[in-house]
C-alpha cells in the first residue's frame, strides 16, 4: 500500500510539471536564505560567546593600597554580585606589563621621572553580569567603591556585536518567512492543479470505498516531496557556498572576530532545515486539499 501511495505521489508530481518545479525552486530559495543567515548568525554568535568570556573590567584606583588594604579590597569586590574573579595589579606590575608590550622600545619607560601608571583591579564578570543590564549594574557598583578613580572596559562592543547577530537572525527569519509564504502558495497552486487532474481518480476511489487516508495521503506526500526536494537543494547550495567562500573569508574573520574558522550548520540545524522544507511542502498540499474539501 505504501508503494502505491508513494507511486501516486510521484505521478501527481509529474502531472504538476513546471508549477511543481517552481514550488521546489521557491522552497530552495527560502531555505537557502534562511540557512545562509542562520549560518552567518551562528558564527557571529560563536564570536560573541568567545569575546564575552574574555571581557574584563579595569578599576583604576586613586592610590596604591597597602598589602593589608589589598586583601580587604579584593574580598569586598569578590563579594559583589556579578563578579567571577578579581586580580590586583600594582603600579610596578602595570609598568612591567607596559615594558613587555613595548618590547624593544621598553627603554622609553626608563626615561620617566616616576611611574605614572595607577594601581588597578582586573575584574572578570560572571555569566549573570554578561548581559548589558548586568554589566551596567556591576560598573555602577565598582564605580561606587571609595578607592575607585575610574572604571574602564566592559562588554559594550560585545553587546553591539550580539545586537548585530540578533538583527541578522531577524532579517534571515523575515526574508525566509516571506519566501516561505510564496513557496507555500506555489505548492498550493501545484496541488490544486494536481487535484483537478486527479479528480476522476478521486471520484473512483470514493465510489469504491477507498479509505480517506488513501485518498488524501498522496496529495500530502507530493507536497512534502516538493518541500524535501527544495530543502535538499538548499542544503546542497549552502554546502557548496560554504566550502567555496569560507576558506577565502576565514583570514578576515580571524582578524576581526577572532574565529579561526567559519563552521557550517550543526546536524540539528541541517535536520531542522530538512524538516522545515518538508513541513512547508506538506502545508501547501494540505491547504490546497482543505480549500477544495470543506
Amino acid at each position: 500500500m505504501l508503494g502505491f501511495l508513494v507511486g501516486e505521489a510521484f505521478r501527481d508530481l509529474r502531472r504538476a510539471g513546471r508549477v511543481a518545479v517552481s514550488a521546489v525552486v521557491l522552497i530552495t530559495l527560502s531555505l537557502a536564505a534562511l540557512g545562509g543567515f542562520w549560518l552567518v548568525s551562528s558564527n557571529i554568535g560563536r564570536a560573541v560567546a568567545k569575546w564575552r568570556d574574555q571581557v574584563r573590567i579595569v578599576v583604576y584606583l586613586k592610590r596604591e593600597p597597602s598589602a593589608g588594604e589589598v586583601v580587604a579590597l579584593l574580598e569586598r569586590v569578590r563579594a559583589m554580585p556579578g563578579v567571577a574573579g578579581v586580580v590586583f595589579i600594582g603600579k610596578a606590575d602595570a609598568l612591567r606589563s607596559l615594558k613587555q608590550v613595548l618590547g624593544k622600545d621598553a627603554s622609553v619607560v626608563d626615561q620617566l621621572p616616576a611611574n605614572p601608571l595607577p594601581a588597578s583591579l582586573e575584574v572578570t564578570p560572571s555569566a549573570t553580569a554578561a548581559t548589558p543590564e548586568g554589566a551596567r549594574e556591576l560598573l555602577t557598583r565598582l564605580a561606587g567603591l571609595p578607592e575607585t578613580d575610574e572604571v574602564a572596559g566592559g562588554g559594550d562592543w560585545v553587546e553591539r556585536l550580539a545586537q548585530w547577530q540578533r538583527l541578522l537572525a531577524t532579517i534571515g527569519l523575515g526574508v525566509g518567512a516571506v519566501l516561505a509564504v510564496a513557496a507555500i502558495l506555489t505548492v498550493t497552486t501545484a496541488t490544486t492543479l494536481i487535484l483537478h487532474a486527479r479528480r476522476h481518480e478521486t471520484e473512483i476511489m470514493r465510489l469504491v470505498g477507498a479509505p480517506e487516508l488513501t485518498i488524501r495521503l498522496p496529495v500530502l506526500l507530493q507536497g512534502m516531496m516538493q518541500g524535501l526536494a527544495g530543502a535538499v537543494l538548499a542544503l546542497g547550495t549552502l554546502v557548496i557556498t560554504h566550502s567555496v567562500v569560507a576558506p577565502r573569508l576565514e583570514p578576515l574573520v580571524n582578524l576581526t572576530l577572532g574565529l579561526s574558522q567559519i563552521v557550517f550548520l550543526t546536524p540539528l540545524g541541517v535536520l531542522t532545515l530538512l524538516g522545515g522544507g518538508t513541513l512547508l511542502g506538506g502545508l501547501g498540499g494540505w491547504l490546497a486539499r482543505a480549500a477544495r474539501e470543506p
Partner: protein, 223 residues
C-alpha cells in the same frame, strides 16, 4: 438486501423545491435482478444515488446490506461502498491507465495484496469478455468495450450488490444486448443487480422484476 421505507427526496434549487422521489417503498431480496425503469426525470438516478449513499433522503429510511444509510459516518460509507459495485452511463474510465490498470486500480486503492491483484483483475476481465483488450487505453476502446471495462471494474471486488445506472444509454442495440448479457451472467453468479434504464424495450426484453417510476413514485412493480 435493499429496503426503502417511505423515501422522499426533494432538491432545493434556490427557493424552489423540486421533488425527485415521493414516499417510495420497496424491498429487493438477495440475488434478485431488478430493472428500474421510467422516463427521464422519473427519479431512477436519484434512487440509485441513495442506494450507494451518494446522497441522503429528505424523508424515510434506506437500508442496504442490512444497514440503515441515514446517519452513517464517512468511514462507514466507505465500508458500505466496498460491498457495492456501480456502473454509470459514461464508463468513467481513467484515460491515462490501461483497461487492466483501471480494473486493478480499485484493488490497489483498497490495499489488496499485489499477488492477488493480477489474478482477480484478469478474472473480472474474463467475465466481461475483455481479456484480449487488457493493455488497451480507454481511447482505443469502442463504447461497448469501455462499458464492459467499467463492469469489470465494478465486479472485481466481487461485491454482493451491483448498481447499473443506464449502462446501455450510449450504446446501439447490439452493444446494449452484449452488456445486458454480461449483467445476466453476473447475476447468475448470485450478485444482486439493480439496473436503471429508460429503454422500455430493453426492460421488457429482460423478463425480470421491473419497478417502474413515474413522477418520483413507484407506479408499477411487476415480474
Amino acid at each position: 438486501m435493499i429496503e426503502l421505507h417511505r423515501v422522499s427526496k426533494v432538491y432545493s434549487v434556490g427557493p424552489v423545491k423540486v421533488p425527485a422521489l415521493r414516499e417510495v417503498s420497496f424491498r429487493i431480496n438477495k440475488g434478485e435482478f431488478v430493472v428500474l425503469t421510467g422516463p427521464s426525470g422519473a427519479g431512477k438516478t436519484t434512487l440509485l444515488r441513495l442506494l450507494y449513499r451518494d446522497d441522503l433522503p429528505s424523508e424515510g429510511d434506506v437500508e442496504v446490506l442490512g444497514a440503515s444509510l441515514v446517519g452513517l459516518g464517512r468511514s462507514q460509507v466507505a465500508a458500505l461502498r466496498r460491498s457495492i459495485g456501480v456502473v454509470f452511463q459514461d464508463a468513467k474510465l481513467l484515460p491515462v491507465r490501461t483497461v487492466y490498470e483501471n480494473v486493478a486500480f480499485v484493488l490497489r486503492v483498497l490495499g489488496t495484496p499485489r499477488r492477488e491483484i493480477t489474478a482477480r483483475a484478469f478474472d473480472a476481465l474474463r467475465v466481461v469478455g475483455l481479456s484480449a483488450r487488457a493493455q488497451a487505453y480507454p481511447a482505443q476502446l469502442s463504447q461497448g468495450e469501455a462499458q464492459r471495462a467499467a463492469l469489470a471494474r465494478a465486479i472485481v471486488r466481487r461485491p454482493p450488490l451491483l448498481l447499473a445506472d443506464e449502462p446501455t444509454g450510449n450504446l446501439d442495440e447490439s452493444m446494449a444486448s452484449e452488456i445486458v448479457g454480461v449483467l445476466k451472467d453476473i447475476g447468475a453468479g448470485g450478485t444482486t443487480i439493480v439496473l436503471a434504464t429508460h429503454q422500455a424495450r430493453l426492460a421488457a426484453s429482460l423478463r425480470r422484476r421491473t419497478l417502474t417510476l413515474g413522477g418520483g413514485r413507484v407506479v408499477k412493480d411487476e415480474g
